[in-house]
Symmetry: C2
Subunit: 195 residues, 2 copies
């Protein structure tokens, strides 16, 4: 790792998170803890040696920590520290800038998780309520408020959106192809508060 050696916050930040893959790992962890293999399968092109290296460095920098979940899971997961969560503003700002490059997926990987995270920057509304996005193999919970909370997994919710991943993803961008169970007003308020 080569430091810029500049007494400047921007340069110092890039010394810490400027290497390839680092900020994408932060993005992955912003919705909740993930296992080594979760990260590896989500980030095509990131090789196992480089993932190990990045996780080691990020741990040394105090951005993430490795935690062993209580039994019966017992899984080892990586999660953001308080300092790591400070990078949310950076990730969301990058997402806002890069959004204009999102026209057609083409051959790019598509991921409902990334779309869910983008809600945090697209949300400018108000209102209350809790929503669940339920895809066949994973779910997300969204808590309306300021700021909008988006996290892995299901919590008790006012409304549950059910569909295949592509349908749920489309629903987050305007299409209306999912099953809405519960308080439809919460879903409408959410949709109206997105930009």
């Amino acid at each position: 790792m080569r430091s810029y050696k500049q007494f400047c916050g921007v340069a110092k930040a890039l010394d810490v998170v400027g290497e390839r893959w680092t900020l994408l790992l932060v993005r992955e962890l912003l919705l909740g803890p993930r296992r080594y293999s979760d990260l590896l399968s989500a980030l095509k092109g990131l090789t196992t040696n480089l993932l190990a290296d990045r996780l080691r460095r990020m741990t040394a920098e105090g951005l993430i920590e490795r935690v062993t979940l209580p039994a019966p899971s017992g899984a080892r997961v990586y999660q953001l520290t308080a300092r790591g969560r400070e990078l949310e503003a950076v990730v969301l700002a990058l997402g806002a800038f890069g959004a204009s490059y999102l026209t057609e997926p083409g051959g790019d990987a598509v991921n409902l998780r990334w779309a869910a995270l983008s809600l945090k920057r697209r949300w400018n509304g108000t209102g209350e309520g809790t929503m669940v996005l339920r895809a066949p193999t994973r779910s997300f919970t969204i808590v309306l408020g300021a700021p909008l909370l988006v996290m892995d997994g299901e919590l008790p919710a006012d409304v549950v959106l059910t569909g295949e991943e592509p349908e749920l993803l489309a629903a987050l961008f305007g299409a209306d192809s999912v099953t809405v169970d519960g308080d439809a007003a919460v879903w409408k308020a959410f949709r109206d508060g997105l930009r």
Copy 2:
């Protein structure tokens, strides 16, 4: 340049600005246009071949453009396009994150220009007025408002701060070692509006 191939704004942004030096070049240009040699001398460690490469890519991406200033200057300068200026939020967010790493300069390069840019994210005050920071070899103009405007050069101002670069830099972080000419109330309001 290797793309992440992910249909995600964060990844797309990093495809464009994720390479080494690119965001530091954006930072340099956020206060105004600069010549090739300005950039080279400000960024120690950036070599001439790599600067040429980055400027070429950034031009191709529509982040910057090369402009020839009118006579008598006639200098060729690089400046941000509208799309490039959208990166200000990214740079400021990085600066906020990296600020906690700024304790002692140590052997790091110090630059009044970087400190002046940091004012944009540190400013949370209100008020009106125009200030000039005048160092021996360069000046900056600051226009109070929302957002705070910081730019290269001098414009007519309510108050002029004069000093050596290290003194002016210290003044922006709390010390009071500079000469204040003009409306001291503007200077005080500015200082009180910084975090």
